[in-house]
Symmetry: C2
Subunit: 253 residues, 2 copies
């Protein structure tokens, strides 16, 4: 399983991914799901992947090595894309190319073709953008109204994002809330797990100011989990007991 | 959509259901999903239903009117069941009977046969028990290790239950946490909504001490939602900002 969240904020971009994969419940491994593509000063992109690992790894390889342009035949890589929109289209084309190569084989052997990818970043003199690209190669874009996009096991961690993240949330405040969202997900789904990969791109910087792996035992993340747990306990303990108690029961049906 | 939770606690049983149904996104109604079956002093049962409304309503009708015993042909109703285990079996048989009658027709018209039901309660001189009965008619039972069962849209509201509900949680404390769980679900999925139906059965009482509907505008529930929201905001604000900021970025991949 996987949980990744991307946030498009006034100040910049935050991406967080877990790294646990499972092929069946008895074959659990760690793979990087956050991929940075960068030419400092020119372009800074981050890709977060969920779905079938063979598919997403092939997609990342294609985007690195390049796909032939359908007209000119020239190889196009993600770092060569002239715009974020074209980059999202290229991710879609890479997904379709892997589907063309492996989709039937996967189906034949009882697998499914499944890849959802977040692509966020900025190119010089262009806007910071964040896209979610689906298995079909189509995509949607985050906006100021809906500044975060999630892929994978998204429900457990969504309530805290719904409440706390807006377009105007500060960059490292958003990173913190994203880590709380990741904590909620990890507690409810064992198939989402440490280490976590995080990346922060400040708007117009064209270079990631943070690209970091949070390992098991990380003092800040352990402290965050403990504080959040204690605060939640205090929060529900502070709410009064329901006043409905001990009314007469009513037979219904 | 639906969200229902049942909790089996040392002190007794708590059941909470929403009441929103939708046949498509443009046909939204309210139907009771919590059904009480009671002979005070003898038996007290609560049924919480999710799935296709025509299926679950037919199941409740069958359990009220009775299903023919496969051997004797006598009609058996839920209130006549000699044990909670037999009652759970009867719910399973009612689901299978509706599947036999309507399952093919539903499939033919693009619907699906879908019903998941929580059955909780106690009969005189017997144990308080809580079951989850599936569409196939099979069922599982809550235990002291896993004291709550959820049906319907369960993920948004699970983290708070995971953290706060144990077998030893007090009855009305558990009700309160269940309402917080319902609040989280309602915020993240508009298809789960008020009014809420709640029921509380104290162990060995053989009569519900609370069976109540929380309507829109209920002062306690509004206050709970506001307090929880404010406490969560205060909780994440109190956590320090991540210390990873402004490390050098690393180009990867």
């Amino acid at each position: 399983m996987t949980y990744c969240v991307g946030m498009l904020l006034r100040e910049g971009l935050v991406m967080i991914t877990d790294s646990r994969t499972n092929a069946g419940i008895d074959n659990i491994n760690h793979f990087r799901k956050l991929h940075i593509f960068e030419k400092p000063g020119e372009v800074a992109l981050a890709l977060a992947t969920s779905g079938n690992l063979s598919v997403t790894q092939s997609v990342v390889s294609l985007l690195t090595e390049g796909l032939p342009d359908p007209v000119t035949g020239n190889l196009e890589t993600l770092l060569d894309s002239p715009s974020m929109f074209k980059a999202a289209q290229l991710v879609g084309r890479a997904i379709r190319e892997v589907d063309r190569l492996d989709g039937q084989g996967l189906l034949k052997h009882g697998g499914s073709f499944d890849a959802t990818i977040l692509l966020g970043g900025q190119m010089r003199d262009r806007r910071l953008r964040l896209f979610m690209v689906y298995s079909a190669g189509n995509f949607i874009e985050a906006t100021a109204d809906t500044p975060f996009l999630q892929i994978g096991e998204h429900k457990y961690g969504k309530p805290v994002l719904d409440r706390a993240v807006t377009y105007d949330t500060e960059l490292y405040e958003a990173l913190k809330i994203g880590l709380i969202s990741m904590d909620s997900t990890m507690r409810s789904n064992l198939a989402v797990g440490l280490p976590l990969d995080i990346a922060v791109l400040r708007r117009d910087a064209m270079q990631f100011e943070l690209s970091h792996r949070i390992e098991s035992g990380d003092p800040y993340f352990e402290d965050l989990r403990r504080r959040w747990s204690e605060a939640l306990r205090a929060a529900h303990q502070a709410i009064p007991i329901p006043p409905y108690a001990r009314r007469l029961s009513q037979s219904a049906n």
